[in-house]
Structures are given as structure tokens and as C-alpha cells.
Symmetry: none
Subunit: 244 residues, 2 copies
């Protein structure tokens, strides 16, 4: 039963996880609710990690199939919807949803989603969160927030699993959002164009401006076709009037 | 804020828990979601247990206030609604609900409820379950059910917390979408730029292309500030490199 929904399963992405034990616990949490697509970005102690297996309590299949990436951008390249899980408020202006709302959206939309979790102590960096369209925050006791990595994973996996029985085949024929790699292509080419016209002046504001640009172009959830159209428009305007 | 709901908080009752570490983890799980009424029935290694504190990661108040009882009957004596959490099916004929349904009922009914959890390995005995009016079962992967005590507690606590009015996600302060007039300004100026670079060729496709452009720029729901940024980007690219 779970396997029939595999194609729509969200990937669970652990960014720079520190302890192998926590990777194992996350795998166990996932498999309890039928999730199997585990991706690791630059795990601190390398991979495989001998401490992961015992902590997985039998969820070995998840560890065996885990994929390792050097960057988060690579890990989400095939994902149309990237959700960053955070506890603290961020300066980034992005929609913030509960695990329940995220799960509902994941089931409703076509394409693969990614649920991204930061390192045990520090959580996701601002640049990691910038890759996401949406932030997921578990509402916890403001006077005692102490949710560990595997607990955050299990709550998201649990919410996702609730929709499995009810998950409809994607009836809507809207184009799904472009894979993240397409979006990165648009962002990169726009930055290049803007460099050529000296847009990033003064230089000390460049990081902030680039981040705003990323938010601007990530927000639309454009399809691959739409991303292509936007690139075409920018390219045509840059090129100027056609010669005779 | 959490304390205002104390009168209606369900008690978390651990029946014959084995490891102090798991009692500490359960306390931590509880406090994350604002629950503080921990009750222990005949803990195997007595109480207090020196291993509980470190595992509670700061949820000491829950451990300090934990009450110890000799029997489950005593522990639930002041509770009007007793929910027994189980994984396996039981011969007892009782209603079986999900954590979500249990949480809804707990919030809807007057009086104190009890959520009862069995020992780590064996779960609740049939005689314990017999005390309950309702069975709560977390729906898990039928091919891999490996939920530990603290995980079961956190899922129930999490579901309960959803019903606490103030435990909502922070109101997000996203900019609202720009007024339609701003959006029209962006669309019109983009069309003008594209005309200048002979984008609308062949002319007979112009209507369809303009419609796609409108869809492209309408979909993002950009704020006024973002619409302005997009206009700035397009203008900068059109203008080309700054003269010296």
C-alpha cells in the first residue's frame, strides 16, 4: 500500500547532520510512516556511518538507499517544492506553514517535494532556507522548545502519512512547478545579466540583493515552461532590437 | 499562556515504565507541547530515577511534579476519559480512534482526560486497557512498526497542542499582493519593452503570447515591493551597461 504512493513521497533531506545516531533515528522515524527517500547533504562524519545502523532499529533499507550530496542545491535539484523546517523566525519573507498544512499541500500538488532539516544544534543556515519556497514550523511551547532532529522528522512524516489513504491521483493538470535545477538556471542567468549592467551597486549590498532576487523568482512556483518563457523574455530584452 | 489551559490538560500516564531515560524523554516530549501532568504507575526502577533528568533536556519541572501511583486505577481516579494507547489490536471491544480524533475529543469534552502508555517492550496489559473507554492507535506502516515510548507520547502531545488556541503558528507578516494597478503597470511596461525588441513575432501569435505573459506575471502574487523590483530588473537589463 505504501509503495503505490512512492512516486509522490517527499524526500527527507538532512543538511550537514552531525551524529550517525541521529541519521539512524531519522530513518526509523521515516519508515514508521512509510517514507524511504532519505538524502544527506555533507554529513559531518562521512557516509556510511557505523552509528546509524543500530539507531535505525531495523530501518536498514532507508539507510542503504540514502543518497549523499555535496550541496543542498544538488539534493533538491529534482524537487518542485522545497520546504525548509525551522524553529526560529527568519528575516526571509516566505510563507510559514504548519506540518499539517505542508502535508496537505504535498498531497495536493504534482511533482516531488523535499522536506529539509538542518544540523542538530544550529538548524538551517539562511542560505539553505533561501532555496525553499515555504517554511514549515512546528508550533511548540514558546517557553520550552526542545525538539530534536528525529522528533521533527517523525512529526512531519506522521502528518504526511495521514494523507496517504486519502491521496488522490493528481487530477489537476496544472503544470507542476519546475524542478529546482531549472529555477537555479533562471536565477543564475538573471544574476549574470544584472552583473553585466552593473545592477549590483554598491557591492556591499550584493548579498542582500541577490537574496531578494532569489525570493522574487522562487515565489511564483513557475512551471518548467514558464521558467523557460521568463528566460526568453529576459534574454530578448537584453539582446535589444533585432538587426534588420 | 500554556498554564491557562492547565485545567483541561490531559494527564500522561506511563504504566510500569522500565528505563528512567525513557521517562525523561517522555517528559521532554510533553513539555515541548505544553503538557506537564506526568503520572507514573509502578516504575520498574523506583522513583526518582537518576537517569531521567539528563534525558529530559531541561524539562525538569515535569519530572519534579510527576506523581507516582501503585495502580493504574489510582492514577486515573480523577480522570473522566481514559484513552489507552496500543499498537496491536485487542480482543476488547472498544472504540479505536486516531491521535487526531482523540485530541479533538479531549478538547471538546469537559473534565480531565488521561492518555495511558504501556511499558517499553510489551505495551499495555489487557487489564490496563480494560480501564479505558477508548483505544488510541497511531496508524503506522504495517510493514515496519517501531514507535518507541517517547515517540508515541510526542505524537499524542503534538496532536493535543493543535487544539490550544495560542499554539498557532506566528501570524506571518508577508506583504500582501500588489494592487492590480501595480501589476498592470508591470505587464504594460514589459509588453512595451518586448515590442521594442520585436518579441511578438509572428504578429498573429501576439494575443496568445500576451496572454501567457499575463499569466506568468500574475501567478506569483508579488507584493508591491516585488513588482517594483521586477520592473527595476527589466529596466536595468533593457538599458544595458551604465555609461561611465
Amino acid at each position: 500500500m505504501i509503495s503505490s504512493a512512492d512516486a509522490l513521497q517527499p524526500a527527507i533531506i538532512l543538511v550537514r547532520p552531525q551524529l550517525g545516531e541521529n541519521i539512524g533515528k531519522a530513518a526509523r522515524a521515516m519508515l514508521n510512516f512509510g517514507l524511504t527517500d532519505l538524502r544527506l547533504v555533507a554529513p559531518r562524519d562521512g557516509w556510511p556511518n557505523p552509528n546509524a545502523g543500530p539507531a535505525a532499529s531495523g530501518a536498514d533499507i532507508v539507510l542503504a538507499n540514502a543518497q549523499v550530496f555535496e550541496t543542498l542545491a544538488n539534493a533538491v535539484a529534482d524537487c518542485g517544492h522545497v520546504y525548509a523546517t525551522t524553529v526560529r523566525r527568519r528575516d526571509l519573507v516566505k510563507p510559514v506553514v504548519t506540518p499539517e498544512e505542508a502535508a496537505r499541500t504535498i498531497h495536493a500538488e504534482a511533482g516531488r517535494s523535499a522536506l529539509v532539516f538542518g544540523p542538530e544544534r544550529s538548524g538551517l543556515e539562511t542560505d539553505d532556507v533561501a532555496l525553499a519556497r515555504t517554511i514549515v514550523t512546528v508550533p511548540i511551547n514558546p517557553e520550552f522548545g526542545s525538539l530534536n532532529l528525529a522528533q521533527a522528522v517523525i512529526l512531519l512524516a506522521y502528518e504526511w502519512s495521514k494523507g496517504v489513504a486519502l491521496a488522490q491521483p493528481p487530477l489537476n493538470e496544472l503544470d507542476p512547478p519546475a524542478p529546482q535545477a531549472d529555477l537555479e538556471g533562471l536565477i543564475t542567468s538573471t544574476v549574470t545579466m544584472l552583473e553585466r549592467v552593473d545592477y549590483f551597486i554598491p557591492p556591499e549590498r550584493r548579498t542582500a540583493t541577490e537574496r531578494s532576487l532569489r525570493t522574487l523568482l522562487t515565489k511564483p512556483a513557475w512551471s518548467a515552461r514558464e521558467v523557460q518563457m521568463m528566460r526568453g523574455i529576459l534574454g530578448a530584452i537584453e539582446k535589444g532590437p533585432r538587426g534588420n
